[in-house]
Amino acid sequence: MAVKTLEQTTNEILGLAAEHFRVPREQLAAGDDFYKKLKIDSLQALELLTRLENHFGVELPDYEVAGVTDFRTLAGRIQARL
């Protein structure tokens, strides 16, 4: 399987976030603060983390994503584990 680019990973995250948090995909951008844009709290952020782990088949330890608030940086963390 071909290695995903950062852009592909970011787009998949945006699609997944849009679908599960019911936000139109076109309203989400890579640099957005996902807490603000998705209007999610810490428990929902944990749910997003679990969905991403399940979707990409990776482990994302909390301490590696602590402080991450935008989709692009999150994609970078995932990319490092693909």
């Binding site: 807490y35 709290d41 810490s42 428990l43 952020a45 944990l46 749910e47 983390l49 679990t50 969905r51 782990e53 399940n54 482990e59 330890p61 909390d62 301490y63 602590a66």
Partner: protein, 267 residues
């Protein structure tokens, strides 16, 4: 026994399977009120032993199985007390909680935790007292106690050590990180991972299966496979109390209670 409807928990018996539902908002925090109801439940559990083959514990709260001990209540109860008074208070609470979990752990029934979402701290420890954990794919397991300057206090370390390899035990405890259901399955912590919203249905299927077997044989197998680590459990209470005396713990609890952080549940 047919059933009971409480404020934090409810239970009912159906077709030889006892089902215990946790439903205290927001996410089944274990405080004194829930503990009192759990104490009532274990009395009912003992009375039901002749009529039931399995027990399922599940949550009716959307956020998850349980986020663990009620830290807000713990902090409020400990405020304005001396270190010695705080320790006496917490030791009494832990002794009672351990009694409940030890009865559950050693019940002759086959016990199944059907978990989803947040399964943290004391909630994780409740699941660990069960024989089998059936986990929704969106479950998350974590021991965040070290961030408060504590260790798990409801029997988490001895039961984890009993069930898992040391590398995983150390990873969970020392990093305080959370793991998902797939990781928990790979580690041997859970027996099955289900689709979203399917954990209770699968747990009922497991309960129906275990109900086919001779109860005496199942109970004997359980005693053989799952000894209660009593000495370590006692030591855990002492170590928890020793750590709880420190001012740093009250400061950690205060930070948690007063936090407006967006990640209060994350280590």
């Amino acid at each position: 026994m047919t059933g009971h409807q409480g404020k934090s928990i409810s239970w009912q018996m159906k077709d030889g399977v006892l089902e215990l539902a946790l439903h205290r908002a927001p996410c089944n925090e274990v405080g004194t009120a829930m503990l009192e109801e759990l104490e009532g439940f274990i009395t009912a559990l003992s009375a039901a032993e002749g009529n039931a083959s399995a027990l399922i514990i599940y949550s009716q709260r959307p956020a998850g199985f349980s986020s663990g001990a009620d830290l807000r209540e713990l902090y409020a109860g400990a405020l304005l007390k001396t270190a010695a008074e705080r320790t006496t208070l917490v030791r009494a609470f832990l002794e009672r909680t351990h009694h409940v979990l030890n009865v559950l752990d050693s019940s002759p029934l086959t016990t199944i935790a059907a978990v989803h979402g947040v399964t943290f701290g004391g909630g994780f420890e409740l699941a660990l007292a069960c024989d089998l954990i059936v986990a929704d794919k969106m479950s998350r397991f974590c021991f965040p106690e070290l961030r408060l300057g504590l260790i798990p206090g409801f029997g988490g370390i001895p039961r984890l050590k009993r069930d898992l390899g040391n590398a995983m035990v150390r990873d969970l405890l020392l990093t305080g990180r959370s793991i998902n259901a797939s990781k928990a399955l790979a580690a041997g912590l859970v027996s099955q991972v289900t689709g979203e919203g399917e954990a209770l249905r699968v747990a009922r299927s497991v309960a129906a299966q275990v109900g086919k077997f001779d109860r005496m044989a199942s109970a004997a197998a359980k005693r053989f496979l799952k000894p209660i680590p009593r000495e370590e459990l006692r030591r855990e209470i002492s170590l928890f109390c020793e750590l709880f005396m420190r001012p740093a713990v009250m400061e950690g609890l205060r930070r948690f209670v007063e936090s407006t952080d967006t990640h209060p549940y994350l280590p």
